[in-house]
């Protein structure tokens, strides 16, 4: 496998708060166009891992590579410009701005070489998310949770990122809306974008993913094909109620 096929790579990440590590040598590889989902119990370090990948926390040790380039020392904004898109769990749209303005802001301040003009990129995004076309003039704050999540993802994708990081995308959604959302996530992956997810809903997250990673107490307990992790008896016992 070439380096280029590895979109997002973490090697031996040690990170935490005030010098106290929460992550103890976490490594993973997310390949181009695949979905990698991180699952684990509360307090396992999932959010710390996401913050470290985004550059909100500087790791004490280890490296992060995006498309083969070392981004460990880059600021969050520089990581966005390098091709790392992000959709936060909550407050992920500008509620008092229209959907179209939200999409504009996805591209307005991105300085990526070879970035497409707004109109061209908008058409591509609307083909990927036909559901939001009729909502372009609507204020994002009045949309339903599922629609808002879609606008948030569409807005992050406006910058044409290599990797899209999603923080608990199904949080607060009804089971039906969560399933619909993961359908959209699969569509995004099919378009060539790599997805890096932190997810509470273990079954839903792993079901829709190519690769999975089980994080427990800041260490990688299990990693590999998502289907194999779902079939693992310990994972089924601990996170899926033994089903």
């Amino acid at each position: 496998m070439t380096i280029a096929a590895q979109s997002l790579v973490a090697e031996g990440l040690v990170a935490g708060y005030n010098g106290v590590p929460v992550l103890h040598g976490v490594s993973f590889t997310a390949r181009a166009g695949e979905i990698l989902t991180v699952v684990g119990p509360n307090g396992s370090g999932k959010s710390t891992l996401m913050k470290t990948v985004l550059g909100l926390i500087r790791p004490l040790a280890g490296r992060i590579r995006l498309d083969g380039h070392d981004i460990t020392a880059l600021s969050p904004a520089a990581r966005v410009n390098a091709g790392l898109g992000y959709v936060p769990q909550e407050a992920n749209v500008f509620p008092n701005m229209t959907v179209l303005e939200n999409l504009r802001l996805g591209l307005d301040f991105i300085r990526r070489p070879g970035a497409k003009p707004f109109a061209e990129r908008l058409q591509e995004i609307l083909e990927l998310f036909p559901e939001i076309r009729p909502k372009l003039a609507v204020r994002a704050g009045v949309l339903s949770g599922g629609q808002r999540q879609m606008v948030a993802m569409a807005s992050a994708l406006m910058a044409d990122p290599t990797v899209l990081a999603l923080d608990e995308p199904s949080a607060g959604l009804s089971p039906r809306n969560a399933e619909l959302l993961f359908g959209v996530i699969s569509r995004i992956a099919a378009s060539g974008v790599t997805l890096f997810l932190i997810e509470q809903n273990t079954r839903l997250g792993l079901d829709a993913s190519d690769e999975g990673l089980v994080l427990v107490s800041g260490e990688v307990r299990l990693t590999g094909k998502a289907s194999a992790i779902l079939a693992d008896p310990e994972v089924r016992r601990l996170y899926l109620g033994g089903k």
Partner: protein, 286 residues
């Protein structure tokens, strides 16, 4: 009654600019800049200096005044407020009181305490449908409408405007979208300073220039901004017009020197009942 409405709208128009300036900085920085009154004073006196001492026509002198206060506001933010950015709004409010005192006394130091006036020709009032409209009122109307149009266009149709609204709406998401907060804050202070300075010029045209002129307008400015919605800049303009009309109409029932009580009563009532204003978005949590 018609004349009262004209006068009330004129007062409202004058208040609209600093109320907009106050709401602009509040919406992005979430702190009430008490020094807004001293920006009004500074703008008026720099304009007076360019108009009377340098002999520039008033419109050009107003440009000098607006540019000077815009730059001063950016510099004051850099020197005084920037390091307090992560502190509470109350800390910043107190800091802005200090800035206000310093600026007002700076004006007194250079210009003295005597009232002054701009060097403009005296014109007869115009009459429309039985209403008397002074030349100054026409200038105020045109200037305020032009300034509001420019601000609205910036807000609606430019990247800077979208960035300002994005930071006001969701600052953490704005950072994730690559918006550089520092540059947007500088632009906000620049616009806020220029608007306050223009208001100072209009107040000077309407009445006279005194070092405490901004202080005198502070309560109506805050009331207008709160009335409209202090976190919603364009709503603050509507608040200013409502307050101007309310103050003027109150003179039918109260002696004119009690007009200030109207502003104070409106502000006190709104803060208790509807702190996000008549036209603003609900942002306050109890």
């Amino acid at each position: 009654m018609g004349q009262l409405i004209v006068n009330g709208l004129t007062t409202g128009m004058i208040l609209a600019l600093p109320a907009l300036a106050l709401a602009l900085s509040f919406s992005v920085l979430r702190f009430a800049n008490y020094a807004i009154g001293s920006y009004v004073t500074l703008g008026a006196f720099v304009t007076w200096w360019a108009n009377v001492l340098l002999g520039l026509p008033l419109w050009a002198a107003a440009g000098v005044g607006a540019a000077s206060v815009a730059l001063s506001a950016v510099a004051i933010d850099y020197l005084a407020y920037r390091k307090l950015r992560e502190r509470s709004g109350l800390t910043l409010l107190v800091a802005s009181m200090g800035v206000s005192l310093a600026l007002e006394n700076l004006v007194r130091l250079f210009a003295g305490n005597s009232p002054r006036a701009f060097d403009v020709a005296v014109a007869r009032p115009h009459r429309f449908f039985g209403l008397r409209l002074h030349q100054e009122q026409l200038v105020i109307l045109v200037t305020v409408l032009a300034a509001l149009t420019v601000v609205w266009l910036i807000f609606r149709f430019t990247r800077l405007g979208r960035a300002m609204r994005a930071i006001a709406d969701n600052p953490s998401l704005a950072a994730v979208r690559g918006i550089e907060r520092g540059k947007v804050i500088a632009a906000v202070w620049g616009m806020s300073g220029a608007l306050a300075a223009l208001a100072g010029v209009l107040i000077g045209l309407d009445t006279s220039l005194e070092p405490q002129m901004g202080w005198n307008y502070l309560l109506p400015i805050f009331t207008a901004a709160i009335l409209g919605g202090i976190a919603s800049p364009m709503a603050a303009v509507a608040g200013a017009l409502v307050l101007g009309l309310a103050e003027e109409v109150s003179t039918l029932f109260l002696p004119p020197h009690y007009r200030m009580i109207v502003a104070f009563a409106i502000m006190a009532m709104l803060l208790m009942v509807r702190p996000w204003g008549l036209f603003g978005r609900k942002w306050v949590t109890r």
